[in-house]
Symmetry: C2
Subunit: 197 residues, 2 copies
DNA sequence: CAACGTTATGTACGCTGGTACACATGGGAT
DNA sequence: ATCCCATGTGTACCAGCGTACATAACGTTG
Protein backbone atom coordinates (compact mmCIF):
# COMPACT_ATOMS: atom_id res chain seq x y z
CA UNK A 1 0.00 0.00 0.00
CA UNK A 2 0.72 3.60 -0.44
CA UNK A 3 4.27 4.56 -1.20
CA UNK A 4 2.65 7.89 -1.44
CA UNK A 5 -0.60 7.73 -3.30
CA UNK A 6 -3.94 7.72 -1.55
CA UNK A 7 -2.89 9.21 1.72
CA UNK A 8 -6.02 10.30 3.59
CA UNK A 9 -3.90 11.25 6.54
CA UNK A 10 -2.36 13.98 4.48
CA UNK A 11 -5.40 16.23 4.56
CA UNK A 12 -5.67 15.87 8.31
CA UNK A 13 -2.02 16.65 8.85
CA UNK A 14 -2.46 19.86 6.89
CA UNK A 15 -5.35 20.92 9.12
CA UNK A 16 -3.35 20.16 12.24
CA UNK A 17 -0.44 22.13 10.87
CA UNK A 18 -2.72 25.06 10.08
CA UNK A 19 -3.94 25.11 13.66
CA UNK A 20 -0.39 25.08 14.95
CA UNK A 21 0.56 27.90 12.61
CA UNK A 22 -2.37 30.08 13.67
CA UNK A 23 -1.57 29.37 17.28
CA UNK A 24 2.04 30.33 16.86
CA UNK A 25 1.94 33.21 14.41
CA UNK A 26 -1.64 34.37 14.32
CA UNK A 27 -4.04 34.25 11.45
CA UNK A 28 -1.84 36.58 9.44
CA UNK A 29 0.93 34.05 9.50
CA UNK A 30 -1.31 31.54 7.80
CA UNK A 31 -0.39 30.92 4.18
CA UNK A 32 -0.20 27.95 1.89
CA UNK A 33 3.53 28.02 2.26
CA UNK A 34 3.78 28.26 6.04
CA UNK A 35 1.27 25.46 6.40
CA UNK A 36 3.08 23.33 3.87
CA UNK A 37 6.35 23.81 5.73
CA UNK A 38 4.77 23.05 9.10
CA UNK A 39 3.05 19.93 7.78
CA UNK A 40 6.18 18.95 5.86
CA UNK A 41 4.33 18.54 2.59
CA UNK A 42 5.00 20.23 -0.76
CA UNK A 43 3.31 23.50 -1.53
CA UNK A 44 1.15 21.96 -4.21
CA UNK A 45 -0.32 19.59 -1.69
CA UNK A 46 -1.92 22.33 0.39
CA UNK A 47 -3.34 24.08 -2.64
CA UNK A 48 -4.67 20.80 -3.90
CA UNK A 49 -6.57 19.88 -0.75
CA UNK A 50 -7.71 23.42 0.02
CA UNK A 51 -8.39 25.60 -2.96
CA UNK A 52 -8.45 28.74 -0.83
CA UNK A 53 -7.21 29.71 2.60
CA UNK A 54 -10.81 30.22 3.65
CA UNK A 55 -11.46 26.53 3.05
CA UNK A 56 -8.53 25.70 5.25
CA UNK A 57 -9.73 28.04 7.97
CA UNK A 58 -13.17 26.51 7.88
CA UNK A 59 -11.68 23.09 8.42
CA UNK A 60 -9.46 24.38 11.21
CA UNK A 61 -12.30 26.17 12.98
CA UNK A 62 -14.48 23.07 12.74
CA UNK A 63 -11.77 21.02 14.29
CA UNK A 64 -11.15 23.40 17.17
CA UNK A 65 -14.89 23.50 17.80
CA UNK A 66 -14.96 19.75 18.08
CA UNK A 67 -11.93 19.82 20.34
CA UNK A 68 -13.64 22.22 22.71
CA UNK A 69 -16.83 20.20 22.72
CA UNK A 70 -14.82 17.14 23.66
CA UNK A 71 -13.11 18.92 26.53
CA UNK A 72 -16.44 20.08 27.87
CA UNK A 73 -17.87 16.59 27.55
CA UNK A 74 -15.01 15.25 29.61
CA UNK A 75 -14.44 17.92 32.22
CA UNK A 76 -17.88 19.41 32.33
CA UNK A 77 -20.04 16.57 33.46
CA UNK A 78 -21.36 18.70 36.29
CA UNK A 79 -22.94 21.02 33.75
CA UNK A 80 -25.77 18.59 33.28
CA UNK A 81 -26.22 17.88 36.96
CA UNK A 82 -29.39 19.66 38.11
CA UNK A 83 -27.96 19.91 41.58
CA UNK A 84 -24.90 21.91 40.57
CA UNK A 85 -24.71 25.69 40.41
CA UNK A 86 -24.69 26.29 36.66
CA UNK A 87 -23.17 29.76 36.83
CA UNK A 88 -20.40 28.65 39.16
CA UNK A 89 -19.65 25.63 37.02
CA UNK A 90 -19.40 27.73 33.87
CA UNK A 91 -17.21 30.27 35.61
CA UNK A 92 -14.95 27.51 36.85
CA UNK A 93 -14.62 25.86 33.44
CA UNK A 94 -13.88 29.19 31.81
CA UNK A 95 -11.24 29.87 34.41
CA UNK A 96 -9.55 26.57 33.69
CA UNK A 97 -9.64 27.36 30.02
CA UNK A 98 -8.17 30.85 30.42
CA UNK A 99 -5.60 30.12 33.06
CA UNK A 100 -3.75 27.45 31.17
CA UNK A 101 -1.81 28.16 28.03
CA UNK A 102 -3.59 31.11 26.52
CA UNK A 103 -2.31 30.26 23.07
CA UNK A 104 -5.15 27.82 22.62
CA UNK A 105 -7.75 30.30 23.74
CA UNK A 106 -6.40 33.03 21.53
CA UNK A 107 -6.31 30.64 18.63
CA UNK A 108 -9.91 29.69 19.07
CA UNK A 109 -11.14 33.23 19.42
CA UNK A 110 -9.05 34.38 16.53
CA UNK A 111 -10.57 31.81 14.23
CA UNK A 112 -14.01 32.48 15.65
CA UNK A 113 -13.71 36.24 15.26
CA UNK A 114 -12.35 35.91 11.76
CA UNK A 115 -15.94 35.22 10.74
CA UNK A 116 -16.54 38.95 11.07
CA UNK A 117 -14.88 39.58 7.73
CA UNK A 118 -15.07 36.13 6.16
CA UNK A 119 -18.59 35.09 5.34
CA UNK A 120 -17.33 31.59 4.62
CA UNK A 121 -16.65 31.14 8.33
CA UNK A 122 -20.03 32.39 9.52
CA UNK A 123 -21.89 29.12 9.30
CA UNK A 124 -19.18 27.49 11.39
CA UNK A 125 -19.26 30.31 13.91
CA UNK A 126 -23.03 29.91 14.07
CA UNK A 127 -22.61 26.19 14.70
CA UNK A 128 -20.31 27.03 17.57
CA UNK A 129 -22.89 29.34 19.08
CA UNK A 130 -25.55 26.72 18.77
CA UNK A 131 -23.35 24.04 20.27
CA UNK A 132 -22.53 26.11 23.32
CA UNK A 133 -26.14 27.18 23.54
CA UNK A 134 -27.38 23.61 23.36
CA UNK A 135 -24.93 22.63 26.06
CA UNK A 136 -26.31 25.22 28.42
CA UNK A 137 -29.88 24.73 27.32
CA UNK A 138 -29.98 21.42 29.13
CA UNK A 139 -30.40 23.50 32.25
CA UNK A 140 -32.23 26.59 31.01
CA UNK A 141 -34.51 27.74 28.23
CA UNK A 142 -32.81 28.22 24.85
CA UNK A 143 -32.98 32.01 24.86
CA UNK A 144 -31.32 32.24 28.24
CA UNK A 145 -28.75 29.73 27.07
CA UNK A 146 -27.87 31.88 24.11
CA UNK A 147 -27.56 34.97 26.27
CA UNK A 148 -25.37 33.07 28.70
CA UNK A 149 -23.04 32.16 25.85
CA UNK A 150 -22.99 35.81 24.81
CA UNK A 151 -22.12 36.85 28.35
CA UNK A 152 -19.29 34.34 28.41
CA UNK A 153 -17.95 35.66 25.13
CA UNK A 154 -18.11 39.19 26.41
CA UNK A 155 -16.30 38.36 29.61
CA UNK A 156 -13.58 36.39 27.83
CA UNK A 157 -13.04 39.12 25.29
CA UNK A 158 -12.64 41.78 27.93
CA UNK A 159 -9.97 39.66 29.52
CA UNK A 160 -8.19 38.85 26.29
CA UNK A 161 -8.40 42.25 24.64
CA UNK A 162 -7.41 44.38 27.57
CA UNK A 163 -4.77 42.01 28.84
CA UNK A 164 -6.45 41.88 32.23
CA UNK A 165 -6.83 38.98 34.62
CA UNK A 166 -9.80 36.65 34.79
CA UNK A 167 -11.98 37.12 37.86
CA UNK A 168 -13.92 33.93 38.44
CA UNK A 169 -16.20 35.31 41.11
CA UNK A 170 -17.15 38.24 38.92
CA UNK A 171 -17.93 35.87 36.07
CA UNK A 172 -20.02 33.64 38.31
CA UNK A 173 -22.01 36.56 39.58
CA UNK A 174 -22.81 37.97 36.15
CA UNK A 175 -23.64 34.59 34.65
CA UNK A 176 -25.94 33.99 37.58
CA UNK A 177 -27.77 37.23 36.89
CA UNK A 178 -28.47 36.15 33.34
CA UNK A 179 -29.45 32.62 34.26
CA UNK A 180 -31.49 33.39 37.34
CA UNK A 181 -33.22 36.21 35.55
CA UNK A 182 -35.04 33.53 33.63
CA UNK A 183 -36.69 32.12 36.74
CA UNK A 184 -38.16 35.13 38.47
CA UNK A 185 -40.13 37.98 37.08
CA UNK A 186 -40.39 36.67 33.57
CA UNK A 187 -44.06 36.17 32.84
CA UNK A 188 -44.43 39.90 32.26
CA UNK A 189 -44.38 41.07 28.70
CA UNK A 190 -41.92 40.40 25.97
CA UNK A 191 -41.07 36.80 26.52
CA UNK A 192 -42.26 36.06 23.06
CA UNK A 193 -39.23 37.83 21.72
CA UNK A 194 -36.13 36.13 20.53
CA UNK A 195 -37.29 32.61 20.14
CA UNK A 196 -34.89 31.97 17.34
CA UNK A 197 -32.18 33.80 15.62
CA UNK B 1 0.47 79.22 2.08
CA UNK B 2 2.73 76.30 2.18
CA UNK B 3 3.02 74.70 -1.21
CA UNK B 4 3.64 71.49 0.60
CA UNK B 5 5.86 71.80 3.60
CA UNK B 6 4.50 71.70 7.13
CA UNK B 7 1.12 70.18 6.40
CA UNK B 8 -0.42 69.05 9.70
CA UNK B 9 -3.55 68.04 7.86
CA UNK B 10 -1.58 65.38 6.08
CA UNK B 11 -1.30 63.11 9.09
CA UNK B 12 -5.01 63.34 9.75
CA UNK B 13 -5.88 62.58 6.15
CA UNK B 14 -3.79 59.44 6.36
CA UNK B 15 -5.68 58.27 9.43
CA UNK B 16 -9.01 58.96 7.75
CA UNK B 17 -7.85 57.05 4.70
CA UNK B 18 -6.77 54.13 6.86
CA UNK B 19 -10.23 53.97 8.40
CA UNK B 20 -11.83 53.99 4.98
CA UNK B 21 -9.50 51.25 3.79
CA UNK B 22 -10.23 49.01 6.75
CA UNK B 23 -13.92 49.63 6.30
CA UNK B 24 -13.79 48.72 2.64
CA UNK B 25 -11.25 45.92 2.49
CA UNK B 26 -10.80 44.72 6.02
CA UNK B 27 -7.74 44.90 8.15
CA UNK B 28 -5.87 42.65 5.78
CA UNK B 29 -6.25 45.20 3.04
CA UNK B 30 -4.41 47.74 5.16
CA UNK B 31 -0.92 48.49 3.94
CA UNK B 32 1.25 51.53 3.57
CA UNK B 33 0.51 51.47 -0.12
CA UNK B 34 -3.25 51.12 -0.01
CA UNK B 35 -3.49 53.88 2.55
CA UNK B 36 -1.20 56.10 0.52
CA UNK B 37 -3.36 55.56 -2.54
CA UNK B 38 -6.57 56.23 -0.65
CA UNK B 39 -5.21 59.37 0.95
CA UNK B 40 -3.64 60.43 -2.32
CA UNK B 41 -0.22 60.91 -0.82
CA UNK B 42 3.07 59.32 -1.84
CA UNK B 43 4.12 56.07 -0.26
CA UNK B 44 6.96 57.69 1.62
CA UNK B 45 4.53 59.98 3.38
CA UNK B 46 2.71 57.17 5.17
CA UNK B 47 5.92 55.50 6.25
CA UNK B 48 7.20 58.82 7.45
CA UNK B 49 4.22 59.63 9.65
CA UNK B 50 3.68 56.07 10.88
CA UNK B 51 6.77 53.95 11.27
CA UNK B 52 4.74 50.74 11.52
CA UNK B 53 1.25 49.68 10.59
CA UNK B 54 0.53 49.10 14.26
CA UNK B 55 1.07 52.79 14.90
CA UNK B 56 -1.41 53.58 12.19
CA UNK B 57 -3.94 51.13 13.60
CA UNK B 58 -3.61 52.61 17.04
CA UNK B 59 -4.36 56.04 15.66
CA UNK B 60 -7.31 54.70 13.67
CA UNK B 61 -8.78 52.81 16.62
CA UNK B 62 -8.44 55.88 18.83
CA UNK B 63 -10.27 57.94 16.29
CA UNK B 64 -13.13 55.48 15.90
CA UNK B 65 -13.44 55.32 19.66
CA UNK B 66 -13.80 59.06 19.83
CA UNK B 67 -16.31 58.96 17.00
CA UNK B 68 -18.46 56.50 18.87
CA UNK B 69 -18.25 58.47 22.08
CA UNK B 70 -19.43 61.52 20.22
CA UNK B 71 -22.39 59.71 18.72
CA UNK B 72 -23.40 58.47 22.15
CA UNK B 73 -23.04 61.93 23.59
CA UNK B 74 -25.38 63.26 20.93
CA UNK B 75 -27.98 60.54 20.55
CA UNK B 76 -27.78 59.03 23.99
CA UNK B 77 -28.78 61.81 26.28
CA UNK B 78 -31.43 59.59 27.78
CA UNK B 79 -28.70 57.31 29.12
CA UNK B 80 -28.07 59.72 31.95
CA UNK B 81 -31.72 60.32 32.70
CA UNK B 82 -32.56 58.47 35.94
CA UNK B 83 -36.13 58.16 34.80
CA UNK B 84 -35.35 56.23 31.64
CA UNK B 85 -35.12 52.46 31.38
CA UNK B 86 -31.37 51.95 31.02
CA UNK B 87 -31.58 48.51 29.46
CA UNK B 88 -34.17 49.61 26.93
CA UNK B 89 -32.16 52.66 26.05
CA UNK B 90 -28.99 50.66 25.49
CA UNK B 91 -30.86 48.12 23.40
CA UNK B 92 -32.35 50.89 21.31
CA UNK B 93 -29.01 52.62 20.73
CA UNK B 94 -27.38 49.34 19.79
CA UNK B 95 -30.18 48.66 17.37
CA UNK B 96 -29.66 51.99 15.69
CA UNK B 97 -25.99 51.29 15.46
CA UNK B 98 -26.43 47.81 13.96
CA UNK B 99 -29.29 48.54 11.63
CA UNK B 100 -27.60 51.29 9.71
CA UNK B 101 -24.63 50.69 7.48
CA UNK B 102 -22.90 47.74 9.06
CA UNK B 103 -19.61 48.68 7.50
CA UNK B 104 -18.96 51.08 10.33
CA UNK B 105 -19.81 48.53 12.97
CA UNK B 106 -17.68 45.86 11.39
CA UNK B 107 -14.84 48.30 11.09
CA UNK B 108 -14.98 49.21 14.72
CA UNK B 109 -15.16 45.64 15.92
CA UNK B 110 -12.42 44.58 13.58
CA UNK B 111 -10.05 47.17 14.94
CA UNK B 112 -11.15 46.41 18.47
CA UNK B 113 -10.72 42.67 18.07
CA UNK B 114 -7.36 43.09 16.42
CA UNK B 115 -6.05 43.75 19.92
CA UNK B 116 -6.25 40.01 20.48
CA UNK B 117 -3.03 39.49 18.55
CA UNK B 118 -1.53 42.95 18.62
CA UNK B 119 -0.43 43.98 22.07
CA UNK B 120 0.09 47.52 20.81
CA UNK B 121 -3.66 47.88 20.47
CA UNK B 122 -4.55 46.56 23.90
CA UNK B 123 -4.25 49.81 25.81
CA UNK B 124 -6.58 51.42 23.32
CA UNK B 125 -9.03 48.54 23.57
CA UNK B 126 -8.88 48.86 27.33
CA UNK B 127 -9.62 52.57 27.05
CA UNK B 128 -12.68 51.70 24.99
CA UNK B 129 -13.91 49.31 27.66
CA UNK B 130 -13.42 51.90 30.32
CA UNK B 131 -15.16 54.57 28.31
CA UNK B 132 -18.23 52.46 27.74
CA UNK B 133 -18.12 51.32 31.32
CA UNK B 134 -17.92 54.87 32.61
CA UNK B 135 -20.84 55.82 30.43
CA UNK B 136 -23.02 53.16 31.95
CA UNK B 137 -21.63 53.61 35.43
CA UNK B 138 -23.48 56.86 35.74
CA UNK B 139 -26.53 54.73 36.38
CA UNK B 140 -25.08 51.62 38.04
CA UNK B 141 -22.11 50.50 40.05
CA UNK B 142 -18.85 50.11 38.07
CA UNK B 143 -18.78 46.33 38.18
CA UNK B 144 -22.29 46.05 36.81
CA UNK B 145 -21.38 48.63 34.19
CA UNK B 146 -18.46 46.57 33.03
CA UNK B 147 -20.57 43.45 32.84
CA UNK B 148 -23.21 45.32 30.89
CA UNK B 149 -20.59 46.34 28.37
CA UNK B 150 -19.49 42.72 28.14
CA UNK B 151 -23.06 41.62 27.55
CA UNK B 152 -23.42 44.18 24.80
CA UNK B 153 -20.23 42.96 23.16
CA UNK B 154 -21.42 39.39 23.36
CA UNK B 155 -24.79 40.19 21.84
CA UNK B 156 -23.30 42.25 19.02
CA UNK B 157 -20.76 39.59 18.24
CA UNK B 158 -23.36 36.88 18.00
CA UNK B 159 -25.22 39.02 15.52
CA UNK B 160 -22.16 39.93 13.50
CA UNK B 161 -20.44 36.56 13.50
CA UNK B 162 -23.41 34.40 12.72
CA UNK B 163 -24.93 36.79 10.25
CA UNK B 164 -28.19 36.82 12.20
CA UNK B 165 -30.60 39.65 12.82
CA UNK B 166 -30.55 41.93 15.84
CA UNK B 167 -33.41 41.33 18.27
CA UNK B 168 -33.89 44.47 20.31
CA UNK B 169 -36.35 42.98 22.76
CA UNK B 170 -34.01 40.09 23.47
CA UNK B 171 -31.15 42.50 24.06
CA UNK B 172 -33.27 44.65 26.37
CA UNK B 173 -34.29 41.65 28.40
CA UNK B 174 -30.77 40.32 28.88
CA UNK B 175 -29.27 43.70 29.64
CA UNK B 176 -32.01 44.21 32.21
CA UNK B 177 -31.11 40.94 33.89
CA UNK B 178 -27.51 42.09 34.31
CA UNK B 179 -28.44 45.58 35.43
CA UNK B 180 -31.32 44.71 37.71
CA UNK B 181 -29.36 41.89 39.24
CA UNK B 182 -27.35 44.58 40.94
CA UNK B 183 -30.32 45.90 42.85
CA UNK B 184 -32.02 42.92 44.37
CA UNK B 185 -30.67 39.97 46.25
CA UNK B 186 -27.09 41.09 46.11
CA UNK B 187 -25.97 41.75 49.64
CA UNK B 188 -25.24 38.06 50.02
CA UNK B 189 -21.67 37.08 49.66
CA UNK B 190 -19.18 37.84 46.98
CA UNK B 191 -19.97 41.38 46.07
CA UNK B 192 -16.49 42.26 47.12
CA UNK B 193 -15.22 40.50 44.06
CA UNK B 194 -14.17 42.22 40.92
CA UNK B 195 -13.82 45.75 42.03
CA UNK B 196 -11.22 46.48 39.46
CA UNK B 197 -9.54 44.74 36.70
C1' DC C 1 22.34 85.50 2.74
C1' DA C 2 24.02 81.01 3.64
C1' DA C 3 24.17 76.72 6.03
C1' DC C 4 21.41 73.33 8.25
C1' DG C 5 18.08 70.01 9.73
C1' DT C 6 13.27 68.67 9.68
C1' DT C 7 9.75 67.37 6.66
C1' DA C 8 8.43 65.28 2.38
C1' DT C 9 9.01 62.45 -1.95
C1' DG C 10 10.21 58.92 -5.47
C1' DT C 11 12.41 54.75 -6.51
C1' DA C 12 14.62 50.47 -6.07
C1' DC C 13 15.50 45.98 -3.51
C1' DG C 14 14.54 41.64 -1.47
C1' DC C 15 10.99 38.80 0.15
C1' DT C 16 6.68 36.41 0.52
C1' DG C 17 2.26 35.61 -1.18
C1' DG C 18 -1.47 33.16 -4.30
C1' DT C 19 -1.91 30.98 -8.51
C1' DA C 20 -1.20 28.35 -12.64
C1' DC C 21 0.48 24.64 -14.92
C1' DA C 22 3.22 20.81 -16.71
C1' DC C 23 4.46 16.63 -15.13
C1' DA C 24 4.47 12.04 -12.21
C1' DT C 25 1.85 8.22 -10.16
C1' DG C 26 -1.05 4.49 -9.54
C1' DG C 27 -5.84 2.42 -8.97
C1' DG C 28 -9.97 1.10 -11.45
C1' DA C 29 -12.84 0.48 -15.59
C1' DT C 30 -12.98 -1.77 -19.98
C1' DA D 1 -3.19 -5.19 -20.68
C1' DT D 2 -4.45 -0.56 -21.60
C1' DC D 3 -6.31 3.69 -21.04
C1' DC D 4 -8.07 7.25 -18.09
C1' DC D 5 -8.58 10.24 -14.50
C1' DA D 6 -8.32 11.49 -9.63
C1' DT D 7 -4.50 12.32 -6.85
C1' DG D 8 -0.01 14.25 -5.82
C1' DT D 9 4.35 17.17 -6.87
C1' DG D 10 7.74 20.72 -8.33
C1' DT D 11 8.51 25.07 -10.34
C1' DA D 12 7.98 29.29 -12.34
C1' DC D 13 5.45 33.40 -12.68
C1' DC D 14 3.68 38.09 -11.16
C1' DA D 15 1.79 41.14 -7.81
C1' DG D 16 2.07 43.29 -3.45
C1' DC D 17 4.50 43.94 0.74
C1' DG D 18 7.80 46.58 4.22
C1' DT D 19 11.94 48.87 4.12
C1' DA D 20 15.87 51.69 2.94
C1' DC D 21 17.78 55.46 1.00
C1' DA D 22 19.16 59.29 -2.09
C1' DT D 23 17.19 63.46 -3.08
C1' DA D 24 14.19 67.74 -2.91
C1' DA D 25 11.69 71.51 -0.57
C1' DC D 26 11.54 74.88 2.92
C1' DG D 27 11.53 77.14 7.55
C1' DT D 28 14.90 78.37 10.88
C1' DT D 29 19.00 80.04 12.69
C1' DG D 30 23.40 82.24 12.69
Amino acid sequence: MAGRRYDPERRQRIIDAAIRVVGAKGINGLSHRTVAAEADVPLGSTTYHFKTLDDLMVAALRQTNEGFAKVVREHGGALADPGADLAAELARLTGEWLDGDRTGVELEYELYLAALRRPALRPVAAEWCEEVGALIARRTDPVTARATAAMLDGICLQVLLTGGAYDEEYAREMLARVIEGAEGDRAGKGSGAATGR
